[in-house]
Symmetry: C2
Subunit: 391 residues, 2 copies
């Protein structure tokens, strides 16, 4: 760690600025609660009054803080009421984008992570990389216009996509989307935005999302399994995303290649003809028929669950998470939950809790948004790369 002696005035200024900004962001200033005064900020931060004054002026100049009009209910002493300050969450905006095999979805938020709008657009499985990127470029202005936000106000864009994603946002390998392997995805999207674009594997983004506002709130060691025909998983360890050395952690779907057992496409098939690996609708129909009592569909689902239990057990034995969240096909997956719990309890030496995704369809875009917000918060609130707190 850095020595504390010597003293670096610009470092101290940054720390103090981050501390004050954070105190402002975390102050609820809605109806019934008042924005903090200078005196409040001195108390909240432990900094001296002149320091807080200087920092607040700087933050106002940067557009991040607003000196609010004294409210009607404000305490009036004999003289002028004290000025109150609030964090301008609207000073910047973030996008969270999911690029999936069947659809493109996007979420828009302010700097507090408050949601301002969302949009979804169907994309054919067979779409080329260019066509798919065109859809991303098309949904964004739509979303911005509806929320009355200008493109220049975007501070960061997070993107969740299937495949192994390199640190620079290039897709190293992706079998789910045509033309995706080798695509410099972040670089291609940066042409459309004037702000940082962060690309993350879809299951990793889903893990971040469930931890932020889904089934994993308060749980820092969790794995989210996107249980498709080729299941993928994303893991948080100690609250941090575990990407693996080459960004390939959690690609448990490849395990079936090793066994002599059938692929998921075959296990879930009732007429013996493998399903199309991307055909989620066909999968949902099999689950539905199984629920309806169809014997062959039931057998198919049982085969599929055995396969899934094996893959998830492998992940759990390797990582020992506190919680496994099952996401992916919301349609049929609730019937997977009970057998998955039972089997993991039998075979894992320390069985994890198993829960269904809370966010469902929205998980990947929500996680992508959180990653964009993390990036911006690191700039606003962090000192030497460490985010000081998360709401």
């Amino acid at each position: 760690m850095g020595r504390l002696t010597g003293g670096d005035p610009s470092l101290l200024r940054r720390i103090n600025s981050a501390v004050v900004l954070q105190a402002l962001r975390d102050s609820r200033d809605g109806p019934g609660a008042e924005a903090p005064t200078l005196t409040d900020l001195v108390r909240l931060t432990g900094l001296s009054r002149p320091t807080v004054e200087g920092v607040v002026e700087g933050l106002i100049a940067a557009g991040l803080v607003l000196a609010a009009e004294p409210g009607e209910g404000g305490t009036r002493r004999q003289g002028r009421p004290a000025r109150r300050f609030r964090f301008r969450a609207e000073a910047g905006h973030l996008l969270g984008v999911e690029i999936g095999s069947h659809r493109v979805a996007a979420l828009l938020s302010d700097l507090r992570g408050g949601m301002l709008g969302s949009t979804v657009r169907a994309v054919p499985e067979s779409a080329s990389a260019d066509e798919r990127l065109e859809q991303v470029r098309a949904v964004v202005p739509e979303l911005l216009r509806a929320a009355g936000v200008t493109r220049g106000s975007l501070r960061a864009v997070g993107v969740g996509s299937p495949g192994i994603v390199e640190a620079d946002g290039t897709v190293r390998l992706c079998t789910a989307l045509p033309g995706w392997t080798g695509l410099p995805l972040a670089q291609r999207l940066r042409r459309s935005f004037r702000c940082p674009v962060l690309v993350e594997n879809d299951a990793n983004a889903a893990a971040v999302a469930e931890h932020w506002k889904g089934a994993g709130v308060g749980c820092d060691d969790l794995a989210v399994v996107l249980a498709g025909l080729s299941p993928g998983a994303g893991s948080l360890i100690g609250g941090r995303l575990h990407r693996g050395y080459g960004g390939a952690a959690g690609e448990i779907g490849a395990l079936h290649l090793l066994g002599r057992e059938a692929t998921p496409e075959e296990t879930l098939s009732t007429p013996g003809q493998p399903l199309h690996p991307l055909d989620d609708a066909a999968v949902a129909r099999v689950f539905e028929r199984a629920r309806g009592g169809d014997a062959r569909a039931r057998e198919a689902v049982e085969r599929f669950v055995r396969r899934l239990v094996h893959d998830v057990a492998a992940l759990v034995l390797a990582l020992d998470p506190e919680l496994v969240v099952v996401g992916g096909w919301a349609a049929g997956m609730d019937s997977v939950l009970v057998p998955l719990r039972e089997e993991l309890a039998r075979y894992c030496l320390r069985p994890p809790r198993v829960e269904l995704s809370v966010l469902g369809d929205a998980a990947v875009a929500t996680g992508a948004l959180r990653l964009a917000l993390d990036h911006v918060e690191e700039q606003l609130f962090a000192v030497e790369g460490r985010v000081t707190a998360r709401r």
Copy 2:
């Protein structure tokens, strides 16, 4: 993070003390190199001369630093030669202990991790927990006596043992050693030592060891597989041991319970009669017969390698380490290396490097020693729980 304003004199003193002690420890003071003077320490640490003087006096009083006689080759100015200071690595000692199914082994080091002695003792597989602990208590005085070290000089004892180990050093589950499940191992051993006793899973200890001075030096994302009949693995992520939420990470040996494939005891059997799960000698014989050209032994080894590849692939897909180190039975395991490399390259989306253990038999005790040293270094060199550097 803590605020830097306000100022805590005792915290500053601790930081400064840790910085000076570390500079002293990392100064080579052997033949040909001279121990640092006060002036050297001022330069090395960036602290003021009065601060360094005060800190050094405190460290001398604590017995951690010695004011060395000015060497013959020392720079003599006109007056008295400058005093030189050295870290007293002999001011404390550490033990690293392996408790295995067949043996108990122990290593002794000084505060720099310099090895002072080792000892091994065979223990029957069937030994009870009390008998096994008795062997641990017996090897320690032997080792201390041979090195001329008193028991009171021990600062920490690290122990590596099979099984899932809780944070408090209790064995939650262990099928390899009789009477081990439920044993409060750390607590039992603390009766024999006046210093902290830290218990760790054996594969985890091996991972720490290979990272410290084995096949994984310089590699912060690695998995060490102890490839026995029931393989276990230990992983480092970003240079830190990954224990999992309940200490059960890496227990990949349980995976075969899920498959319909045979257990390792059966796969490696040539006459069809399962081997005893703890019989490493029988396993080594099968490997040797396979190398000698025996067809049935070859088939058995092939079956075993398939099983091992599957378990290791599951771990690799979940974690995506940079490096996999194969340890365990040094005798036959070199013949496992090539097929393991080939198969992982085929099935893993980002295949890791695969290397044989460098430390072999000594890995578990070496890792246990390193964990004891980490514990002591945290007290000596760390501020607020963060170790400032590792040699």
